[in-house]
């Protein structure tokens, strides 16, 4: 039986990798993937706690999040495609038209 703490540790590591990717990478595609990674880290904690506490609520949440993540990926990729058409670039630093 693997202790719950390890699941949480793994989730934390995954989340950190995702967060670091979002902050450090320039490729928008990669950033989106990192966002997915962070979301899945959260899913992992939900499932771990659900198992630990014997409650189904966490697992229901996970399904919910996976649905939202699918939608979010579809919308995010669509925006990205459109951005690429406009600027011929996927570099996040080129998208700065809101700069004050």
């Amino acid at each position: 039986m693997i202790p719950t703490a390890w699941y949480l540790l793994l989730a934390a590591i995954l989340f950190s990798i995702g967060a670091g990717g979002v902050m450090l990478r320039r490729n928008t595609l990669v950033i989106l993937m990192c966002v997915e990674l962070m979301m899945n880290a959260v899913n992992l904690t939900f499932v771990a706690f659900s198992h630990e506490l014997g409650s189904m609520t966490g697992q229901v949440f996970v399904f919910m999040i996976m649905t939202v993540a699918a939608v979010e990926a579809a919308v995010g990729l669509a925006i990205l495609v459109e951005l690429y058409r406009q600027t011929q670039s996927v570099n996040i630093d080129d998208f700065d038209s809101l700069k004050g």
Binding site: A19, V22, M23, L24, I31, I92, D93, F95, D96, S97, L98, K99, G100
Partner: protein, 634 residues
């Protein structure tokens, strides 16, 4: 009929509405006759109510129209009072007003603003009736302010002339000083008595301490000083002559300026209970009478001579009410309304004939050209001078006799003023109507008199002679109708302040009358000597008494002193607030400053908006960590 007294106010207001809204379309003739007929209806209603007064219980009736203001226990009704005093005032206002309206049709003929003129004139009549008919101090105050506004509008009627616009502003601002005191007086009445109704105030007056009554009366009198052009707030009245002459006759001689005298006579109970204030009132009246008469001696503008004589005569009235001779004050108010309106309108007739020339040095020899104007002016002048058996003689002598009882020094001032009055009045007559025409240009282009203007003159001339019959001297066993008529008004006062029955003996009264008549005739004779027989005397006197003459010509430099003391400091203060406070502090620091600060803060905040998504993400994470740490460590 007394119940319908409100119609007397309503009719002129109908005139205001029609002339004010449709005036331009109706044409000059309709404007004038509409205004005249409205005032005539007012007069008829006033007359009918006047005839009813003796039949009323206690000679008075309150006509409660509607509840006006109710705030907590502050409850004022819009109600009118029909009593001997208000009816006398109503008749004077509407009667003299009617004649002046008729005269104005001729005088204003051809002016562009005739409809506007008659709108204002009707509005004035309505306002003045509110003033005299109100049965409480708030209504009196409202009327007081309304007539002030009408006065402003009519003085500045020819507003395209700078002098007229300035004179209007001056009248309004100077009156504001007085009205401020008046308003405070009304407030004090409310806090002291809890009511503003005359009857309630007078009934309770006996129970209030003398100090409070003195304060109330003094504050109210400050209003009267402004409105009735007494020292030191008289300065607006001479300048008010910039308005059209009917206005000078109606507002600045016959009616509005007497509002202060009316107010004191109306508040007779309060003034009788405040002997100190009454003393001040009498002294201010007497000094004003003398002071204005001396200035009138050397003026060359015919209308200004009359203006200063108005101030002087108002001084007599104020002196009368100050020594407690309220009925005499009202008597002189009525006769003065007749002869002063007459004199002003006759002067206006001269102006009209001479193409607006009013400087007496350019007139002269008009006696045969304008015979009706001349004779009516002479009759008015005789009444003003107090020539025996004219209206002015009886009313002025009654005041002088009452003053003699009260204070010998004031009597001396009054009787000396009578001498000056006779002199300057006839100086004006001789310079204007006698001698040779001094200006060929004026003489050549003289207009004729028109009946619409001379008829009111003749009627007023008759009144100026017969008006004295209202109050024949009682000491001679003659019936003094006016005193008996007004008696109910002073009943409360006599109950609270028993009068000492120290009446003059017949001999004293005859002596006083002889003295003043002699002085009047002396004054007229002196004017005749100086201005008809040997005009060089006047010039020589003016030269030999250089500094005194200069002092009078410059009206004691009062306007200059006021300029230096009040007007220029106020203007400087205004400039300081405009340049330094407004432009320097409010505009530069507060308005521009706040805009600049916001811009500057924006520039700083804009640096956070780098446009790099990763930076935003970092801040989101940092924020999330901080919030998380806070809840975790708490």
């Amino acid at each position: 009929m007394t119940n319908l007294i409100w119609l007397a106010i309503a009719f002129p207001l109908i005139g205001v509405f029609i002339n004010g809204v449709f005036g331009k379309k109706l044409g000059e003739k309709t404007n004038g006759w509409l205004a005249v007929s409205m005032v005539a209806l007012s007069f008829i209603i006033g007359l009918l109510a006047f005839l009813q007064v003796p039949n009323l219980p206690e000679h008075q009736q309150t006509v409660d129209l509607w509840r006006w203001i109710t705030i907590g226990d502050f409850d004022v009704h819009f109600s009118l009072l029909v009593d001997p005093l208000s009816m006398i005032m109503t008749l004077v206002v509407t009667g003299v007003g009617l004649l002046i309206h008729i005269y104005a049709i001729g005088y204003m003929h051809g002016d562009e603003g005739v409809s506007r003129f008659f709108t204002y004139l009707n509005l004035f009549i309505a306002s003045m009736l509110i003033l005299v008919l109100s049965d409480n101090y708030l209504g009196l105050y409202v009327g007081w302010e309304l007539v002030g506004a009408c006065s402003y509008l009519l003085i500045g009627f020819w507003f395209f002339k700078d002098s007229a616009a300035d004179a209007g502003k001056k009248a309004f601002i100077v009156n504001r000083v007085g009205d401020f005191g008046f308003a405070l007086g009304v407030f004090l009445i409310w806090t002291t008595f809890g009511t503003l109704q005359y009857s309630g105030v007078f009934e309770a007056a006996g129970t209030v301490s003398t100090g409070v009554i003195t304060a109330i009366t003094a504050l109210l009198f400050i209003g009267a000083i402004g409105k009735s052009a007494q020292l030191p707030l008289y300065v607006w009245l001479p300048d008010a002559m910039e308005g059209p002459t009917p206005v000078s006759a109606l507002i600045h001689a016959a009616t509005m300026v007497t509002a202060g005298v009316y107010m004191v006579a109306r508040s007779n109970v309060l003034y009788a209970l405040a002997p100190q204030t009454s003393m001040v009132v009498a002294v201010i009246g007497g000094v004003t009478a003398l002071y204005a008469a001396t200035i009138a001696l050397v003026q060359f503008d015919l209308k200004r001579v009359l203006a200063y004589s108005t101030i002087s005569q108002l001084g007599y009235m104020v002196m009368a009410v100050g020594v407690g001779a309220y009925a005499s004050g009202i008597f002189h108010l009525a006769t003065h309304a007749f002869f002063k309106a007459l004199l002003f309108m006759a002067a206006g007739s001269v102006m009209h004939a001479a193409n607006d020339v009013i400087d007496m040095r350019r007139l002269g020899g008009l006696k045969n050209k304008l015979p009706i104007t001349y004779w009516t002016f002479v009759i008015g002048g005789l009444a003003l001078a107090g020539f025996p058996l004219t209206a002015g003689f009886f009313s002025k002598d009654e005041i002088l006799a009452k003053t003699f009882e009260a204070n010998i020094w004031l009597y001396a001032i009054g009787v000396f003023t009578a001498l000056l009055t006779a002199f300057y009045t006839f100086r004006a007559i001789f310079m204007t109507f006698h001698g040779e025409p001094k200006d060929a240009d004026v003489a050549k282009h003289l207009h004729h008199e028109t009946p619409v203007m001379t008829t009111p003159l003749v009627i007023l001339a008759i009144l100026s002679v017969l008006g004295g019959l209202m109050g024949l001297p009682a000491a001679f066993g003659l019936p003094n109708w006016l005193e008996g008529w007004l008696e109910p008004v002073f009943e409360t006062m006599h109950r609270l302040v028993p009068a000492e029955a120290a009446h003059l003996t017949l001999g004293t009264e005859v002596g006083l009358m002889t003295l003043s008549s002699t002085l009047v005739i002396l004054g007229i004779a002196a004017a005749m000597w100086v201005y008809l027989r040997s005009p060089q005397i006047a010039e020589r006197t003016a030269q030999s008494a250089g500094w005194a003459y200069n002092l009078l010509v410059h009206k004691y430099y009062v306007d200059e002193i006021y300029d230096a003391l009040f007007v220029n400091p106020a203007r400087g203060l205004g400039k300081f607030f405009a340049k330094v406070v407004d432009m320097g502090v409010i505009d530069a620091v507060l308005v521009d400053g706040s805009a600049k600060t916001v811009g500057w803060l924006g520039q700083i905040a804009a640096r956070w908006q780098t446009g790099y998504v990763r930076n935003y993400v970092v801040s989101i994470f940092v924020g999330a960590i901080v919030i998380g740490a806070y809840f975790f460590l708490r």
